[in-house]
């Protein structure tokens, strides 16, 4: 799951790949439409589509004599889930900060500028 999110981040990390993803967000497209919209050379676009395909972001479906590229939702879900886990980590950490602040309030000597509360043992 999270390795998938990492692959997704990496695939999206290249500006032109990101442009392709943004273009496909509006709907499936054949490669020549992508070439035209982005003003890139076809081999370049094909290379990017291959990377996007390997990361599972994009799939291709043959229609007549063309391959139509479309976005797949799952990798984006993986990013969202990973981001949520990061969010949860920070939420827990900020809760913990609140707990510490409350405990400092109860410790003697912390309200008069004393700067050496006991440090935790390892």
């Amino acid at each position: 799951m999270s390795a998938a999110a990492a692959a997704t981040f990496a695939a999206l990390g290249e500006p032109n790949r990101l442009r392709i993803v943004e273009l496909l967000r509006d709907g499936p497209r054949p490669v020549n439409a992508i070439v035209q919209a982005l003003g890139l050379r076809q081999p370049q676009v094909s290379k990017h589509l291959r990377v996007l395909g390997e990361s599972g972001l994009v799939t291709a479906e043959p229609v007549h004599r063309q391959r139509i590229y479309r976005l797949e939702p799952e990798p984006f879900d993986a990013i969202a889930e990973w981001t949520e886990s990061f969010e949860r980590l920070w939420d827990a950490r900020l809760d913990s900060l609140g707990d510490l602040l409350a405990s400092l309030d109860r410790e003697p000597g912390t309200d008069d500028g004393h700067r050496d509360p006991p440090s935790p043992r390892r």
Partner: protein
């Protein structure tokens, strides 16, 4: 090593604490205080350095305790540099986090912006975290998911009871 990655999302948090802004500032900048709240449950913070001035270093190592089972002893360092420091009002730092021993594949780069604002009731803390890059093959599980949602929810529950 790192692929440039457009930020997938900027995470923002806002909390109000019933504590004076000076105390909250110390909780962020005094290593002895910072290490007391930084690590998630079942972790310790064996190393913590904070040099809160522009260009100064922030370095925190979180280590899994025996309670984390197979992850026991795993270390997650974070190392960064302060880019903005306005005492009791604002702290910003750019940092990298990784799983020790797997730096090449687990590194995440992130920009963090903390602001503190004194109010009648205490201090409003806002935090913006922007993930700017991740290791190309990052096993991100190591960073956020391994301690598990349940552990974090339990800890939250404990804190709520403590209130």
């Amino acid at each position: 090593m790192l692929g440039l990655s457009r930020k997938p999302k900027q995470l923002t948090f806002e909390r109000t604490y019933p504590a004076p802004v000076e105390t909250v500032w110390r909780a962020w900048t005094d290593p002895d205080l910072l290490r007391r709240w930084w690590g998630p449950e079942k972790t310790t913070v064996p190393e913590c350095e904070v040099d809160a001035r522009v260009g100064g270093t922030i370095r925190i190592v979180t280590e899994a305790t025996e309670a984390m089972g197979k992850y026991a002893g795993t270390r997650w360092p974070m190392e960064g540099e302060f880019t903005e420091v306005e005492p009791t009002a604002r702290l910003a730092y750019d940092a990298r986090s990784w799983t020790e021993g797997e730096e090449a594949t687990t590194t995440i780069e992130h920009a963090n912006d903390v602001t503190l604002r004194a109010t009648d009731d205490g201090t409003v803390v806002t935090l913006a975290v922007t993930i700017t890059a991740v290791g190309s093959k990052a096993k991100l599980a190591a960073f956020g998911m391994k301690w598990g949602y349940k552990a974090q929810l339990d800890k939250l529950g404990d804190l709520l009871k403590a209130d």
